[in-house]
Amino acid sequence: MSELRDPTIEEFYRYCSERKLMAVRCIRCRTVMVPPRAICSNCRHSRVEWVELSQKGKLVTYTVVHVSPPQFKHMTPYAVGIVEMPEGVKIPSIIRTSRPEDLKIGMQLEADFSPRPQEGGWPNWPRYFFKETD
């Protein structure tokens, strides 16, 4: 990476606003991690670097949420799942689909992004999400 950004959650979401799905990788054992962090979850080494992930991954499990907290009420029911990326890291995500009954473990999904919300306050993060591939 040309640019040295701190391995923080805030930076992960800043990358999302640039339409990049990023993870950190331990420079010693090469473990790739989401959420990003400064200390490797595998070998405890304290130097990690940012790597850009592919925007396509494989669905490894999913559910359709019917009872949700108030902030998700407008989109309920909705699908969420865990997506495995070719770089060897898994990511939790909302899965935007009009046909949740067609979701299948092993299917390919692609990442997409929605802009940083306009309103202030914390957290002011854009969103990444996954959707069916075209």
Binding site: T61, V65, V67, P69, Y78, P123
Partner: protein
Amino acid sequence: MRGKPLATIISAGLSKFGRREGVYARELFAEAALSAFHRVGKLDPSKDIKAAFIGQMSEAYEHQAHTAPIAASWAGLFPAPAMRIENACASSGSALRCGIMAIMSGLYDIVLVGGVEKMTNQPTPEVTGILATASDYPFEQWNGMTFPGLFALMATAHMHEYGTTEEQMAAIAVKNHKNGALNPNAHMQKEVTMDEVLKSRLVSWPLKLYDCSLITDGASVVILTKPKLAKKLSDNYVHIIGTGQAQDTFCLHERESLTTVKAAKTAAQEAYKMADVRPKDINVAELHDCFTIAEIIGYEDLGFCRPGQGGKYIESGAPDLKGSMPVNTSGGLKSKGHPVGATGTAQIHELYLQLTDQADRRQVKDAEIGLAHNLGGSGATAVVHILKGS
């Protein structure tokens, strides 16, 4: 250390579990404490109990933090030091470990351990949101994950990997409600049929309403002492002979396997080794059935059956009240209810009754060794205790 008592439970108490309108958490806690005090006439609680370790998950339900001194003082323990322990749904299981450590350190001779949660004054979507705070904010909650959602992700993976069925999950609910119907302290003292479970409304597919534990108000208390003091204080005491606690990754997605809770396996191994017992030596167990799939995975993690065989294990009838390994004789979180902070020591309360032959219609004949399995969050915390009757 192997097989030796670490600390001894001389009494246990429970509040009535349920929708307790107009009753505050502190009042529930006092109710549980009084029921524990009534069992030990030789104890002068306010004088003899030197410290309290109290599990409670969230201050959001009652807009109240700093709850341990409140609960302790309402139970008549004043000015004894009181500590709140928060590890989500494993709060009072974790508090019990603190109590054991306090006794084993020699700092105190008698301590009280318990837990409480008052949940029903908030509507279900708010409770769903409050419970979700025990998952990761920026990656899980931010992505719409709920607790039923996280366990549903495990259920979907378990179904895919091992062929576990919705009927097998429903069988957990049927069994636990059958037991809960015999427990006068349970929230829902009602049997349910397989058909009712399968036709109940979706909460987070494949989990339906009757796959989920209840939103419940309740409190639980146990009184711990040094093993050598137990006989002087109580005729009915139970030794804690094993304790284990471990972490898994905080986020579910970071786990190598989504069909097992590694922390529960690690905690169980630690507790089994300390207690010098094997899974087959257990006579009665309380498992953390926050969702039916969690009990199925629990069977596997605790070594009651092989990995992937949890669904077949419930079908075998072994975990039934009259089976070879009765699980959740109290009704579990499913039927007794799941006042989050109270759950860990409520499990211990049931084992105390079982191992002192006081479980009435739920009594497992000649039960000598009991095990409690208490999970926090999606399994980032797991606590296992092994108890032995005297």
